[in-house]
């Protein structure tokens, strides 16, 4: 599996993503600068977390209009797998590849902690190494992760199986206090209709190594490795 990590001014999880992809794929991911207009030929495009363009105007709004995003949107529409984590999820909603929007956390506080997620759909290239409804441990670190969609859009996301992950407790129960940011229906990540684009606020790349807290996140990259190699 060949992969690329997009780097914006203000990205700060790009190298974590690079390490996670290198470990799983055994190949060096290509780091692609936001000002480039050419994408290398890869199987997976990863848009990492961070504060692209200083979160000016809205999180992800500037990055969504950067030169490289036109090419990413084109490739996503042709079926190339795209993973957006944290700020990357915000960029994917801002550029229209994913529905809904990420708003300020309901608590108004930046939330940085480990959370549990239930796997809501394990029939995709991103999630096939998980059990359906399995609780997994990853971490969140964001101030604007409060997923919102209008009722009509939300019904479609829910009805079509586009919800990838929801925040839950360690037992996999969807309780209110397990939701760190006020996201509607506790949604932590969603797919596009074709299931080749995934956006999620939690960081799978930060749980890709036993030495730093766990490997549940790494299984997402292993799923991709299985599907795209």
């Amino acid at each position: 599996m060949k992969s690329a990590v997009i780097v914006f001014p203000g990205s700060n999880c790009d190298r974590d993503m690079q390490v996670a992809l290198r470990e799983v794929t055994g190949k060096e991911p290509q780091m692609v600068w936001h000002g480039d207009s050419q994408m290398p030929n890869v199987d997976l495009i990863a848009i990492p977390g961070g504060f692209s363009y200083g979160d000016y105007l809205r999180c992800g709004a500037m990055a969504a209009n950067s030169p490289i995003m036109k090419e990413i949107v084109k490739q996503a529409n042709e079926g190339v797998a795209v993973l957006g984590v944290c700020n990357g999820f915000q960029v994917l909603t801002e550029c229209g590849l994913l529905p809904g929007a990420l708003m300020r956390n309901a608590s108004l506080r930046f939330v940085c902690k480990d959370v549990h997620l239930t796997v809501e759909n394990n029939t995709t290239a991103f999630t096939s190494n998980y059990q359906q409804n399995e609780p997994i441990l990853v971490s969140v670190a964001h101030g604007d992760g409060n997923f919102f969609a209008e009722p009509e859009t939300l019904n479609k996301i829910e009805g079509d199986g586009q919800v990838a992950f929801r925040y839950c407790n360690a037992d996999g129960e969807l309780v209110a206090r397990a939701n760190p940011n006020g996201s509607v229906n506790a949604i932590a990540g969603i797919f596009n209709e074709q299931r080749n684009v995934l956006g999620m606020m939690p960081h799978p790349e930060r749980h890709s190594d036993k030495a730093i807290g766990g490997t549940d996140g790494g299984r997402l990259f292993e799923s991709l490795m299985g599907a795209l190699s």
Binding site: L57, E94, A106, G182
Partner: protein, 80 residues
């Protein structure tokens, strides 16, 4: 040269926790009459040209493409 002012606000159906926090602060200062607060952005733009309707349509396009996220925000344009 013309000037346009864009107001970007959250849609009425979208919760505004920042507005709520501002309201709580106002109430804490003794402004009990502040019953609801919603906050947003003001963006001032200077534009070349002098045709009102051309400026209006250009700023509308700016709002749709960048200045507002129409999933969660409304915008209103004033030509100054």
């Amino acid at each position: 040269m013309m000037k346009a002012r864009v107001f970007v606000t959250l849609k009425p159906a979208v919760l505004d926790p920042q507005g709520k926090a501002i309201q709580n602060a106002l109430n804490g200062l003794g402004f009990d009459e502040a019953q609801s607060v919603r906050q947003g952005k003001v963006i001032d733009i200077e534009l070349s040209g002098d045709d009102n309707s051309a400026v209006q349509s250009s700023v509308t396009e700016m709002c749709e493409k960048l200045l507002a996220n129409t999933v969660i925000e409304d915008y209103r344009i004033e030509i100054l």
